[in-house]
Amino acid sequence: MEPLIDIQNVSKSFGATKALKSVSLDIEAGRIVGLVGPNGAGKTTLLRALTGGINYQGNIRILGLEPRTQRRKLMASTGVIHDVAVLPPWMKVKQVLDYMEGVHPQFDRPSCEGFLATTAIEQGKKIKHLSKGMKTQLHLALVMATETRLLILDEPTHGLDILFRKRLYTTVLDDYFDGDKSILISTHQVEEVEHILSDVIFIRDGSVLLYTTMDDLREKFVQLISPAEKAEEVRQLGPLTEHELFGRKVFLLKDVDRQAVERLGKVQVPSVADVFVALMGGEG
């Protein structure tokens, strides 16, 4: 079966800066994939390449379409929320709905108005007069009310408070994801999305460091909390990271036999954030 997103050797440079370095990925349909990396890692560049927003070298196919030359067709089946407020500030909320209704055949206006009715957003207000949280809610309402097969969220919670962040992901899960659709979320705040992800991609300096399912990640990585006297023995296993916590040593190990290391301390499943920090630190 053809992957939903097929990325082959994609590179992008801005002057002397290489934002993407020969990135290759296959993403299947029906997945919720987290694209995780520090600021400047190349997440936004990759997503903009995927949505035909910028030029690039290499090959990308999404839903069998090439984003640069078939962007119009692609966008009929793809919803996008960018990291910055990209809704035209001069428009009124009602005018954005008019615009969406006019250009997007899959846009369901009553559904969008229903969503907006649950918020404090007034249709007569100009977008520039909405708070950042409201702008994101509005954009989310537009995307949720559009029947698409793929949703791309680029740092959607950037600058929002915890209430908005929680609500956004709850809405995405409850109102959008149904098992057939796919979601690609870019973030550097991995802890707030890890519970909804099926796959995770770590990216740094324009290169993919890790692409795995969450199940595999939990299998591969082990967090071991050992007493200080067993630390030397654990170090023989080549831990990715080591730090001290309340007088005990905390290690992150990769590809080890869980049962074998249980005698060295308490074994735990690490969080994605722990693995992320370990890999990022290990590389740098």
């Binding site: 962007r71 990209v86 055949p105």
Partner: protein, 321 residues
């Protein structure tokens, strides 16, 4: 079609405030100008202003034999002529002003049309929807060229009727009292000329329109300065190094012509070269002739090439500083 209409409505909604303000200012200007002329007319009719026509006792009309006007007719005709001349000048100045406003509006609109989107990031929103880049760019061009030319045409028609309505009835009385027939202005002919001229202008200005849109798409800052600077430098270069005013003439020649044509219609006389009162404008031999000329082909080729480059540049979404 629905998508394209939505794009045009979007442009209208974004720019309508500017259009309404400009239209209102123009109407205020028209009223002010006519008030001045009315006051002048009344003073003239009451004899408070002396015209040199009143010093004449009569004149030879043609070689067929002397035809004498009475002193009373002479004075009335003289006053009426001065008034007609004043009113026709009012139309001419108004027409020129419409064209200047039109050019400025097109310039401001087109150099900002894409740049504004790039500056506020809304390009990502528009390009995140199933609308082709070509539709987006062409809708801006159509809104800029046809939209503003349409508004200019409507203003022109208003201008012509405004002048008709406010034409002082006393001039007619003045002429009728002296057994002279007032000149009948053919408003429909005037409007037809105006429309033909606008169609001509549309074809003729398209390369400039696309050029401004191109600047709006690629420049990192100050699109207005870049947009205006290049034609000015090109004009200066042409003027001083080649010794030719072709670039200036390309931009300005016909802005004055329509005003002259309108004045000629009112005075019942022939206008500038190629413009005959009551007939379609023939600035380039004929309107159809112009449309089929090499100049049109070159204009459209240049516009087409620039348009392709503009769409390509828009797709690259170049950053602004």
């Amino acid at each position: 079609m629905k998508t394209y209409l939505t794009l045009l409505v979007r442009e209208w909604r974004e720019w309508r405030t500017v259009m309404i303000i400009v239209g209102s200012l123009y109407l205020v200007g028209m009223v002010g100008w006519s008030v001045v002329l009315h006051k002048g007319s009344n003073a003239l009719i009451r004899g408070e202003i002396h015209t040199e026509w009143e010093d004449f006792r009569g004149f030879d009309d043609d070689d067929d034999g002397p035809e004498w006007l009475t002193p009373r007719q002479m004075a009335a005709a003289g006053r009426a002529h001065v008034l007609l001349f004043g009113w026709s000048h009012m139309l001419r100045v108004g027409a020129a002003f419409i064209n200047v406003v039109l050019l400025v509006l097109i310039l401001f609109y087109l150099v900002d049309a894409v740049y504004k989107e790039r500056s506020d990031g809304s390009t990502f929103f528009y390009r995140g929807l199933p609308v082709s880049d070509m539709s987006i760019i062409s809708s801006k061009l159509v809104a800029g060229m046809v939209g503003f030319l349409g508004i200019s045409f409507i203003l022109g028609v208003l201008w012509i009727y405004f002048a008709q309505i406010t034409f002082p009835g006393s001039i007619r009385d003045l002429l009728a009292g002296a057994d002279l027939s007032p000149y009948q202005v053919a408003s429909l002919d005037l409007i037809k000329d105006w429309l033909v001229f606008h169609c001509l202008q549309l074809v003729w200005l398209v390369p400039f329109g696309v050029y401004f849109l191109f600047v709006s798409t690629v420049t990192r800052s100050r699109p207005l300065l870049v947009g205006m600077g290049v034609p000015i430098l090109l004009g200066l270069f042409w003027r001083f190094l080649i010794g030719d005013d072709a670039v200036w003439e390309l931009l300005t020649t016909n802005f004055g012509a329509i005003g002259s044509a309108i004045q000629a219609e009112w005075l019942g006389a022939h206008g500038p070269e190629g413009v005959i009162a009551g007939e379609p404008i023939q600035l380039f031999g004929s309107f159809v002739g112009y449309l089929l000329s090499l100049r049109t082909v070159i204009s459209l080729l240049v516009a087409g090439g620039l348009f392709g480059i503009t769409v390509y540049a828009y797709r690259r979404n170049l950053p602004v500083s």
